[in-house]
């Protein structure tokens, strides 16, 4: 009964995995237990620290973060309504955009003015909201590209294959392992452009891991991914923590945030407005206000009464036009 035995092995694997998950998750949870639930709270072992980051686009201040720390070995979610400045903040941290003011450091090494490629080499690797697979390269070539410190990437070494062939073999072996883990091994030789949206997200994440990062920054890893694949992606993100990596991710899907994150940072209008473990943050009044508006549970008439204005004026309607309520 091969099927049965396979099932048992699976079950055993899962138990082990769950056991590990719990342990790593517990470590992260314990480390964060005593951290103050307030914006800019100090963490026991921060891997990334940002101070006074300001980015203006003309008259608009897109990001204005006083202080924020990211705990090592934990999964931290960065959430906030559309236009809160999450992606801009990501770009600033990784060197893809330059802030007007502020300092930030990774492993206590300052990152001011460090170009993006060097940030990546230091161990801080990001993915993009709009997936950037190199569509006219094959999946395996995409993966190989991620490996750092390749001898053959120097012009004159590249000309002489024996100088880089053995390293290429090691890289390919590592790439194949990752592809197998991400269930992309069957697509190995296909052009990355032929992958589905979800597979592209997987490939981008796997490729980022080829850099062997310490901190993985995922910009909306679930955007446009079908529900079936979401579960597997979630598993992969948790897996990163199990392997000792730190994860910072931007996400809109609250279920996912609740499920996998150890700590949540909430941004609104460019600033950090709340921090805390997922469940506590989601019941925080400031967060609910930011997402739904301060008056989300009042009718417009009540708001108007509170603010002392006429309801029709607020609605922008005239007396002659019936309100939607009347119409129904």
């Amino acid at each position: 009964m091969p099927a049965d035995s396979a099932d048992t092995t699976d079950a055993a694997d899962t138990t082990v995995a769950v056991g590990e998950t719990t342990s790593r998750k517990e470590v992260a949870t314990a480390a964060l237990a005593d951290v103050a639930r307030e914006p800019g709270a100090a963490k026991p072992d921060p891997v990334l620290v940002a101070d006074g980051i300001v980015r203006r686009f003309g008259g608009l201040t897109a990001v204005n973060v006083d202080h924020v720390e990211v705990q090592r070995g934990a999964i931290t979610a960065l959430i906030g309504p559309n236009g809160a400045g999450k992606t801009t903040f990501f770009n600033l941290l990784t060197g893809f955009d330059k802030p007007d003011d502020g300092t930030w450091s990774f492993n206590e090494r300052p990152l001011n003015g460090v170009p993006p490629f060097r940030v990546a080499r230091m161990g801080m690797v990001r993915t993009f909201q709009l997936t950037k697979v190199l569509s006219k390269l094959t999946v395996i070539e995409n993966m190989r590209l991620g490996a750092t410190g390749q001898r053959g990437e120097r012009l004159f070494f590249g000309l002489i294959p024996p100088l880089w062939r053995s390293q290429e073999r090691d890289i390919t072996a590592r790439a194949d392992d990752l592809l197998a883990r991400f269930n992309l091994d069957s697509k190995r030789a296909e052009f990355a452009g032929s992958l589905s949206g979800g597979q592209r997200k997987l490939l981008e994440m796997a490729r980022a891991l080829m850099v062997e990062p310490e901190l993985v920054m995922l910009d909306e890893p679930m955007a446009g991914v079908n529900p079936a694949l979401t579960q597997s992606l979630l598993g992969h993100v948790k897996d990163l923590r199990e392997q000792g990596m730190t994860v910072l991710f931007v996400e809109h899907d609250m279920d996912m945030v609740r499920d996998i994150s150890d700590w949540v940072i909430v941004m609104a209008q460019g600033a950090v407005i709340a921090e805390g473990p997922p469940l506590e943050v989601m019941s925080d009044q400031r967060v609910i206000d930011a997402y739904l508006g301060a008056h989300h549970d009042l009718s417009l008439a009540e708001v108007a009464a509170e603010e002392g204005i006429d309801a029709p004026e607020l609605l922008g309607t005239h007396d002659s036009t019936p309100s939607p309520k009347d119409a129904s």
Binding site: T94, F117, K136
Partner: protein, 329 residues
């Protein structure tokens, strides 16, 4: 109409010195545009800087031919560096604008009256390649016949050296395209931010591709100069750059053999149209043209051909549609 003559004239041209020069320039452009995606529309300027670097040293300053070659290469690399430093930070389309303008600047400077003493003005410079022909192992004489094809000793010597360079540069391209270095170039062509996020210094790789491609094109500039034993500014007009693009796209961008096939086919068709038209005019088959107009007609046809290629077969003869940077539709 002597079809035998038309055919041999076209084939001779398609294997001759000028085709070799265009081919070398296209190999360089293949590295820049085909693999890296750099829209360099100033390739003519790199040929000019090499050709003029050589000619000025030998004719104006009366230094040796080898000093000329060295200075020509250095001038080409310097121009690539000068152009690349500010422009490689720009998006692809802006790079195209800047390079096409820079190429015109180079051409107008070398033909200016102000520098006539050094650069020869619109007449250009002559008689600097004699040393090259002295090196020829071919015996003196009027030429050598290969079946119906006749090449002068001088052109044959240029062809031998030129096609050897084509072989060498194609080998280099072949090795580089398969190396991790070439993989980064292809990655940059697809999405440079993605490559950046993986820890690669994109700017420096683009600079390397631009300089290496410029150097290969520089050898094309030497070949043109040596073959005519003269350089003149108007050879290096933008039409030259577009001919090189046509060659590359015809053969297939991002393919090692693309520029070779493209150059031979382009040379053949270019000359075939020219000779056929002038034969037809001479034989009074065509009465609405005179023989001085046929050379212009073929340029019109080059433009039309480039348009048709871009619309119907942007991957060229050897290319793989899924793989090329061109998406006209």
């Amino acid at each position: 109409m002597d079809w035998g003559f038309i055919f041999t004239a076209s084939v001779s041209y398609a294997l001759g010195a000028l085709t070799v020069a265009y081919c070398l320039a296209a190999i360089g452009l293949n590295l820049q545009f085909g693999y890296t995606g750099l829209l360099n529309f100033g390739q003519a300027a790199f040929l000019a800087s090499a050709g003029y670097g050589m000619a000025v040293m030998v004719t104006t300053f009366e230094l040796s031919f080898w000093v000329g070659i060295t200075v020509g290469l250095l001038a080409t690399l310097a121009l690539a560096l000068l152009l690349g430093l500010p422009t490689l930070r720009l998006r692809a389309d802006y790079l195209a604008i800047v390079t096409i303008a820079a190429a015109e600047v180079v051409r107008l400077v070398v033909r200016s009256v102000k520098f006539k003493e050094t650069l020869g003005g619109s007449d250009g410079l002559q008689q600097f390649a004699n040393r090259f022909y002295e090196l020829s192992p071919l015996s003196d004489g009027f030429g050598i016949n290969f079946g119906p094809f006749l090449f002068s000793n001088q052109e044959l010597w240029v062809m031998i050296v030129g096609w050897s360079l084509v072989a060498l540069f194609s080998l280099i391209t072949f090795l580089l395209a398969r190396s991790p270095w070439g993989r980064i170039l292809k990655g940059i062509r697809e999405d440079e931010d993605a490559v950046r996020s993986l820890g690669k210094n994109v700017y420096w790789y683009k600079m390397q591709a631009l300089m290496l491609g410029a150097m290969m094109a520089g050898f094309g500039g030497f070949i043109i100069g040596i073959f005519f034993n003269a350089v003149s500014p108007d050879i290096y007009a933008t039409a030259l750059t577009f001919a090189i693009y046509t060659i590359l796209i015809l053969g297939g961008a991002a393919r090692v053999a693309g520029p070779i096939l493209g150059a031979i086919l382009f040379g053949f068709l270019f000359q075939f149209v020219n000779v056929t038209l002038s034969e037809a005019v001479n034989a009074d088959y065509i009465t609405f043209l005179d023989s001085s107009q046929t050379a212009q007609i073929r340029l019109v046809l080059v433009g039309a051909g480039l348009m048709l290629l871009m619309i119907y077969r942007p991957q060229g003869i050897l290319g793989d549609r899924r793989e090329i940077a061109l998406d006209a539709r």
